[in-house]
Subunit: 347 residues, 2 copies
DNA sequence: ATGAGCTATGGTAACGTTACCACCTGGATC
DNA sequence: GATCCAGGTGGTAACGTTACCATAGCTCAT
């Protein structure tokens, strides 16, 4: 019970001023950096702040004209997915350098939640918004709805919405991953993709298809399964079951994302435990890294990319709209982040 | 170019009122639910809101006495760790039901950042705070600093700080996991833990130790390595190397968390690729689940727990302080979440 | 016909902050 | 000795919102 100076309510500038024996303005000036405030006054103010446990009310502050909230809204589709967690981390890393903070929301990939979240973030006066689009209706993202709040899209693009975007090299990564399989002599190659995420999925399939076509390998529609639900690896397991039960099963599978990779490998594991030989199981090329890939019972090639880097880049795009001066008015930019293709061997 | 009704600045209640031909109060009332507002007036207001793209300024709103910000602060140590991501997801899930939103910050496990984050969240008038303590100094969490803002700690406890806490059954989980190894006949069991997270680490080691002592198995200090850095699995690999190079290497290793499990398994993988026999490699008991554990080349037992559930429970504790009526004044509660121990076989 | 009890509406003030201006002091300049 | 500047300080108003009170119109029972 130290101090016991009184009420547990939040103190205000006025109370600090009273205690320090100065005016609220002097308190405000001191907290804003102390320009044109005498050292003695500053010391008195700081003492009063300490004694009262005063914190400036940032909401009231951002209410004044010309003051910004210092908040960047970040909306991702799945907080539980480490990929998006790292993405948010990259954003945070960069915006923190400018003294801003992120306010993070989870859309669960649902357009309705996204709409609600965007409205709320706008209501909280965020300076800008970084969004991994959920898919579905996008009216709430149109310029006339957002006003002058800058928006940066990540991972997916929205056609008809001309804003800054950070993407992966989906096409190139899928192409090179598939090429690796072709180079190894595979000709019956399965494809596992998602029903949602039309944009990303489409691009990855495009790269896959291009590699096959280029080598004159025909696409067998029965080896292409793109029905998987977004968040669940279970449906990828079902799809893998179907592929492996085919009369002429694939000798390799391209999995268009982490969830499909995990689902496919689980099914392979199931069969190995049931007595199947590893040599009869397909090799995997996974778009997206996953941990311990090098310990898998079948060879795994990874199309790897850095979510954090993606987040950093998205943040940089947004900040250049906010603080960039001249560059703030540049036409929308599209940044495509590179991917690495390699056998899964972590050092 | 639809509408083109004018300025891209943010409209206010006054402008909406003007356009709807009513007073600001009628607008406010309509937006607050529409009690005591005629249907015609409501319709006019809603039309004006749509046309102007109006969003209520939540900051100004929370400025009024009696109004709360609707924000819950959540501070976690590592956003990139799916465990904490899922934790945040659980918190969000529950607080969303009460119309609140989370504002999420990342401490990186650094006390200084934690202090700054807490100050900022307080400045933004969060109604309450859910925190995974970073370790280190904790003055900024003491009641005299937080005022009447409720705090819930997760995963770790802070001695001398008497607030609601949600913990895992660390001791029991480690005990049962170790028992499983002893039951399988192991007597030389290694232990990998972290240098940070003294609280959690201590509890898990306690369970480990208790199981050994109970069976009269002596602890070999050379098999206990607790120096690993928190976020990196690389140092766990180094530690594993040391254990396996021992004259009398352990036949099993208890890894006190996910990062150590992954590090240990990577080292095992390295040796297998170098020609070691799987039968000579140790079996693993991992506190914390990780994906594809069932595909590992050595047997893996998991002490599993649900981060999301932990987050939900933390949120419930906090909400009962905020909305709980009588229960809001209950003495601090400690909730210990159960863990499951089992061989790694996903269906 | 009167007034009590509604509902619908608007005016005013206040929340905590800071921009703007006005005011003081003291020392330097003419 | 009068004038100027610069640094230090405080008063006032405004940001966007809503609680409170006042008022106007209405219905219904007396």
């Amino acid at each position: 019970m130290s101090g016991a100076t009184g009420a547990s309510k939040k103190p205000t500038v006025k109370e600090v001023a009273l205690r320090a024996g100065v005016s609220p303005m002097t308190v405000s000036r001191t907290l804003a950096g102390g320009a044109n405030v005498s050292p003695e006054a500053q010391e008195k103010v700081r003492a009063a702040v300490r004694e009262l446990g005063y914190h400036r009310n940032e909401n009231a502050r951002s209410l004044r004209p010309g003051q910004s909230s210092g908040l960047i809204g970040v909306a991702i589709t799945n907080l539980g997915n480490p990929y998006y967690g790292n993405f948010a981390l990259g954003v945070e890393e960069v915006v923190t350098e400018t003294g801003r903070r992120i306010i993070l929301g989870n859309t669960g990939g649902e357009s309705a939640r996204e709409r609600q979240l965007v409205a709320d973030l706008k209501g909280r006066q965020v300076e800008g918004l970084i969004l991994v689009p959920a898919g579905g209706p996008t009216e709430h993202l149109m310029p006339e709805r957002l006003g002058d709040m800058p928006l940066v899209l990540a991972s997916r693009r929205i056609y008809g919405l001309d804003v800054d975007v950070v993407l992966l090299d989906d096409v190139g990564g899928a192409y090179r991953g598939t090429r690796a399989l072709l180079d190894a002599g595979h000709t019956r190659i399965g494809y596992l993709g998602n029903v949602g995420s039309a944009f990303t999925g489409g691009r990855r399939f495009e790269g896959f298809e291009r590699a096959l076509t280029e080598r004159g390998v025909e696409l067998d529609p029965e080896l292409i399964v793109r029905e998987q639900q977004d968040a669940a690896s279970a449906s990828a397991g079902e799809a893998t079951k179907r592929l492996l039960d085919h009369d002429l099963p694939p000798t390799a599978i391209f999995t268009a994302n982490n969830r499909n990779s995990v689902g496919a490998l689980r099914e392979i594991g199931r069969r190995l435990r049931a007595g199947a030989r590893a040599a009869d199981m397909p090799e995997i090329v996974s778009f997206d890294d996953f941990e311990l890939a090098e310990l898998m019972p079948v060879p795994v090639t990874i199309v790897d990319h850095d979510a954090r880097q993606l987040g950093r880049e998205a943040a940089r795009l947004l900040l250049s709209r906010l603080d960039g001066g001249d560059r703030a008015q540049d036409p929308p930019r599209v940044v495509e982040m590179p991917v690495r293709v390699g056998r899964a061997v972590h050092v």
